[in-house]
């Protein structure tokens, strides 16, 4: 990883086979409630032969993250490696981050009285939250902290076709470039 790594996700649509593995692995690893799905697999042009494209979407951990810019209680914090995280104990469940997000990533469990929106939940790139690393509190609120253990996020780790990539933005695009140029040439 380079000096100033910027962690990014990338899903290679030429490889994604719509198996939903990433989405299920994420929900299981972080013990998410049924209403929440941090990572979604979406297929376009369903059933149209040769035009069907599937991809896996979650929070993209944007540069200058719009969600962080609009949050009225300023509960987001962006790690040095670019992972966008938030503090659920500060969040008031207002929904502003969802309006700002280009990728529909923030979600809201309806766990309050009368089904009011609870604290926002989104992909943490398996990097937990502001609580003490790997503490029970962190696990309960945000799920596993695999990054702290030096592991790859669970979704990318289990992707059987290696469609879902995660890592420094430049390295990820280098891998993708190589795939594109070598395609059909019997290479990797």
């Amino acid at each position: 990883m380079s000096e100033q790594a910027r962690m990014k996700f990338f899903c290679d649509t030429n490889r994604c086979i719509e198996c939903f593995g990433c989405s299920v692995a994420c929900a299981e690893a972080h013990e998410l409630p049924v209403s929440i799905s941090r990572r979604k697999v979406i297929t376009m042009n369903k059933g149209v032969e040769g035009k069907e494209v599937s991809t896996s979407i979650a929070c993209m951990h944007c540069t200058d993250a719009p969600c962080a810019q609009v949050c009225p209680v300023k509960c987001f914090y962006i790690r040095e490696d670019g992972i966008v995280l938030h503090d659920k104990n500060k969040c008031i469940g207002c929904g502003y981050c969802l309006y700002a997000c280009p990728f529909g990533a923030p979600q809201f469990p309806r766990d309050g009285a009368f089904g009011t929106k609870g604290a926002m939940d989104k992909c943490t790139m398996c990097a937990g939250g502001p609580e003490e690393t790997n503490s029970a509190a962190e696990r309960h609120l945000y799920g596993q902290n695999r990054i702290a253990e030096g592991k790859v996020p669970i979704c990318a780790a289990m992707c059987a076709t290696n469609a879902l990539l995660v890592g420094d933005a430049e390295e990820v695009s280098a891998i993708y470039r190589q795939r594109v140029t070598s395609r059909g040439k019997g290479g990797a």
């Binding site: 979406i42 609009v70 949050c71 009225p72 209680v73 008031i92 929904g95 969802l98 309006y99 280009p102």
Partner: protein
Amino acid sequence: MKNFLFFILALFFSVSAAYAADTRIWGEMIIPNILAYGTAENYNLGPLFVLLQSQYLRLVFAVAVIAVPAIFATHYFIVGPKVFIHDGNKIYIFSVFQRIIHLLAAVAFLLLVPTGLMIIFGRYLGGGTLVEFARHIHGFATIVFLVSVIPMFLFWFVEMLPTTYDIKWVFILGGYLSKQKKEIPAGKFNAGQKMWFWMCTLGGFVMIATGIFMYLQDFDYGIATALGVSQIDLLRISVIAHNILAVMITAFFFTHVYMSLFAIKGAIHSIITGYKEEDEVKHLHSMYYKKLLASGKK
């Protein structure tokens, strides 16, 4: 009245029970939503909201909540309040029902405005439980406001329709720039009260609707479809409209409070007892007073 309350409650519960099983935000719609983000096709609503919220909203609100009271304080010390004879005749102008409804609306506003400001300036309060509580009170007070604003609209809207002498009132700023007791052209309600009324009722209905949209977030009553926008864009339109209207309503609300509590000494009593000083009506609501005289009611 009972039916009406029941209707409001039923509405509230039915909306909170009716979360669409298929999401209109996080399902198939996610791809078109991503593609539409920041394009002219959806009026750039996403980036527009980010710009307004991150650069202007807090600033505009800070100016409104500081400047408006500052202007009034200056007015109070330089021009001073209007004082009318309080031991003269009184004129009965607000019925019991109107006063109760107004009281409900007042309670709603005293809850809505501070909690709304707490959300906007939530970062200075550290967020968390306190601000989330404010958000819940904001939602609860909406029901109180809804219950009061509908009858209020119905019993006052005829008297609130604009007239020609309202224009004169605006030009002399209601005569508030001098302490002189002159006959000011105004009916039962002056042009300022009328502006506040329309802002509060029509604006209030928009506030309630957009507030409910944001509260429910993922619902399907055909509203977005009817407007030809996606659900997420309906939410973006709602938050922008809600916050812009909120600045104006807050400024008008401060004005209303200043007028009734400070600018005209004792004016608040009329909405408590139902009686206004004849001297006050004669000067500040001269057209109405003349009408009363002509009709022999006075």
